[in-house]
């Protein structure tokens, strides 16, 4: 299995009057963090952890009146990130639900295509699987970066393909999450040919079936060399 892709992204702080929400940083697997920590302190929602001059608030905490309070029930983790102040966060044994955020790389499965867009179900955010599927849309002009108007969705995706995409917008009232594959590393990762066999990519726009040797058009993702198994 290829090593998991760890994506760290920061949500811009939305300023409100009294309490400010700290930046979100999804932590992948924290068992490795827990094993080299001394017995950690338990905390419950609403418990005051420290003042804002001692630490920076991380996930599972919120800021109010110059003090950092816990918002989850779990263990308090204090980590030195290399800046002046350590980051204090609350971690739980079980992962809480993660939401796709703007700029996140998501793994999705194509459910239907249309000359104007492709509808997908978002399955993974970064490397964490989602308990529930979210719906997303890849518009025709977001499939690739060059020659946007000459894109044919039928030649870029097919239903059942697994696609790596990036979230560009949370969508408005009418639409779902808007995704884009307009980068070299984004696009179709796994696709099955009409014969039902998993295809092998041969270029950025074609994949070939190993059994029938038929070539099919897809917008293929260029997987980074370090994620390929030798």
């Amino acid at each position: 299995m290829a090593p998991s892709l760890r994506t760290l992204y920061v949500r811009p702080n939305s300023q409100s009057d009294k309490s400010s929400i700290p930046s979100q940083q999804p932590i992948g697997k924290h068992s490795s963090l827990l094993e080299n920590m001394s017995p950690m302190k338990l905390c419950v929602p609403g418990e005051r952890l420290c003042g804002v001059e001692d630490c920076i608030p991380g996930t599972g905490t919120y800021l109010r009146h110059g003090h950092i309070f816990a918002s989850l029930a779990g263990y308090v983790l204090r980590k030195n990130e290399g800046e002046e102040l350590p980051v204090i966060s609350v971690v739980k044994e079980t992962e809480a639900q993660l939401l796709p955020d703007v700029g996140a790389i998501v793994t999705c499965k194509v459910t239907s295509i249309n000359p104007r867009f492709a509808k997908v179900h978002i399955l993974y955010v970064g490397s964490t699987p989602l308990k529930d599927r979210f719906r997303g849309t890849i518009r025709r002009e977001d499939v690739r970066a060059t020659e946007k108007d000459k894109v044919e969705t039928y030649k870029s995706f097919r239903p059942g393909d697994i696609v790596l995409a990036k979230v560009i917008s949370l969508g408005d009232v009418q639409s779902n999450y808007l995704l884009t594959t307009a980068e070299n590393e984004l696009g179709v990762v796994v696709a099955h040919s009409e014969a039902g066999v998993q295809m092998v990519p041969i270029s950025w726009c074609e994949m070939q079936c190993p059994r029938t040797h038929a070539k099919e058009f897809r917008k293929v993702a260029r997987v980074q060399p370090e994620y390929l198994q030798a």
């Binding site: 929400i21 929602p45 919120y62 939401l99 949370l170 969508g171």
Partner: protein, 244 residues
């Protein structure tokens, strides 16, 4: 006044409690594996079960979603066997809709909904046995379920009822005391900051008594919060022992 005496001369209530004494609160978290969070709470004879799903994509009309925060969807229902006489309509009647709305308002005040824009958090509460303090037992059970689901909250939400008899405030009313015709005040509080999430009162009392009544209710809520705190800490320790 003829009828049942809610507070005897020696200061004992119908079930033998003192005026400011709470009923026994017992709770368990993580009772269901399928839901994201669940809890079962008993407050005296009132038994409530709360289940939380989410945050997930908004179901139904997309127009219900909010662009900057999560929508909290609550449903309150009572089991048909929960009252002395079999309940005909467990949910959908006016009382249940009002309770669901109150629960929604209470949790919108406590849950940090700004962290989950365009998503929905479902809280379902069911009363299995009703003996007064239905709303308050629901709030307490739902708090534990939300903590179990790992949804960030500002603070616990603890709720308790209070009444007033013979110039004495009573804490945590049972069904007989509630339906006796006297005042019944339900208070949902965020204990550490002392902020009130919801306060509701039935019947009338004199304005001068309101402060004492609120004080009694707030003290009772803080007592409940200590019990809930103990339950959460114990559950965390149990879970950590299992997965360590």
């Amino acid at each position: 006044m003829a009828g049942i005496e809610l507070l005897s001369d020696q200061g004992y209530r119908l079930d033998g409690r003192r005026a400011t004494e709470l009923r026994k609160v017992q709770a368990r978290m993580g009772v269901f594996a399928q839901a994201d969070g669940s809890a079962y709470l008993e407050q005296g004879n009132t038994k409530a079960l709360a289940v939380v799903y989410g945050p997930h994509e908004v179901r139904g009309p997309r127009a219900k979603s909010l662009h900057d925060r999560a929508v909290i969807n609550c449903q309150y229902s009572m089991a048909t066997f929960s009252t002395a006489e079999r309940k005909r309509r467990p949910h959908g009647d006016r009382k249940s809709s009002e309770m669901s709305l109150h629960l929604k308002q209470t949790f919108e005040a406590a849950v940090l909904t700004q962290l989950y824009p365009r998503s929905q958090i479902d809280i379902y509460v069911k009363i299995l046995q009703s003996d007064g303090g239905n709303y308050t037992a629901c709030v307490n059970a739902a708090t534990l379920a939300v903590v179990d689901a790992g949804i960030p909250m500002r603070d616990y939400v603890c709720a308790c009822t209070a009444g007033f008899v013979d110039d004495t405030p009573l804490a945590d009313l049972c069904h007989a005391e509630e339906s006796g015709g006297g005042t019944s005040l339900s208070l949902a509080l965020l204990p550490r900051s002392g902020q009130i999430a919801l306060v509701q009162m039935d019947a009338r009392i004199h304005q001068d008594h309101l402060d004492t009544l609120m004080e009694a209710a707030m003290t009772a809520c803080k007592g409940v919060s200590r019990v809930l705190d103990g339950v959460v800490r114990q559950h965390l320790q149990e879970v950590s022992v299992l997965t360590a």
